[in-house]
């Protein structure tokens, strides 16, 4: 089970750190076959928003096959215009079990043509903009996350934690997801 979180310069810190924590605690508590990877375009360190310097485990050129692909939000506009990243996302999505976004990562998945007519959500400040840029998407508000087929999108920043716990519940079961939340002392907004 390979779970990959795609990050980039000015990605929002909690957008990737929250899900990374959820999945790596799930691994630590008994799912030793889970692998949680950070992926960036190149092998150079990225500078996340606010200035956190993180070195991904893989670049888009050498990452193993992913079962779960997560695209995080932040200052997402440059990535929306990065054709090699968009082509990579579309290619990876063709063989994932689950493809998801956190916060404004939905804009990137939509720009890649991965999200087209699905029901989705994003950060509360960006709901109108997402609808405007991608009018065929069904954009909903006031949800921590939205599931539509194999696609799952979350609301802003911390909602990525809630969505990741939901993904753990899907991939295992609800008691296991609740054990992960308890380990993190997290009040899961189910």
């Amino acid at each position: 089970m390979n779970i990959g979180l795609f990050i980039y310069n000015d990605a929002e810190v909690l957008d990737f750190s929250g899900p990374f924590e959820v999945f790596s605690v799930a691994k630590r508590l008994g799912l030793s076959h889970w692998n949680v990877y950070l992926i960036s375009e190149s092998s150079q360190p990225i500078r996340a928003r606010g200035g956190m310097n993180v070195t991904a485990h893989y670049s888009i050129d050498d990452v193993p096959k992913l079962d779960v692909l997560c695209v995080v939000g932040g200052e997402h506009t440059a990535t929306m215009q990065n054709t090699s990243v968009l082509a990579w996302l579309a290619r990876v999505n063709a063989s994932t079990t689950i493809t998801c976004s956190i916060c404004t990562g939905a804009f990137i998945l939509a720009a890649a043509g991965v999200l087209q007519r699905e029901t989705v959500t994003t950060h509360w400040q960006d709901l109108d903009e997402l609808k405007k840029q991608f009018p065929y998407l069904g954009v909903v508000s006031n949800k921590r996350w939205v599931e539509d087929g194999k696609y799952v999108t979350s609301g802003g920043i911390s909602a990525g934690i809630d969505m990741s716990l939901f993904l753990v519940s899907k991939l295992t079961d609800m008691p296991y997801a609740k054990t992960v939340a308890r380990q993190m002392e997290y009040e899961w907004c189910e």
Copy 2:
């Protein structure tokens, strides 16, 4: 206003990423004079728990004077025996306005002699161990955070987010802290 988060190999990812997010969103929303730094013993990257590779902004030898010192939890035992780090923590604490810990970071502050007889908390799994190792501490349970003079300690992992929002409310005011929580779409456990 210099806020420093001390990290180390096998530090828990959300223990530093959660507070980093809170303080950097607080900065972004209007407090441009706030600086949020990650600090590690040397200038080499650290490998946080679960395998996230992070490069701190400063080592303990070159960090600017801190107003707020935060020590994070994780696999904390090696750091509890690192005499140069403990001496640095005690020295920095002498001139901070606020010194705090997240999760099992309380063990490190106690090993450094920074916490001695204060009322404190830590991760729910470690409450008994903290009391056993440091019997003069007043260890309390079922609190997201505990304030005692200039010392603030949080419960496990995600409770560091709640504590950091409390610190924002202390350093600014409650409406500002609520705006930060809203920006993060975080259900603040006040």
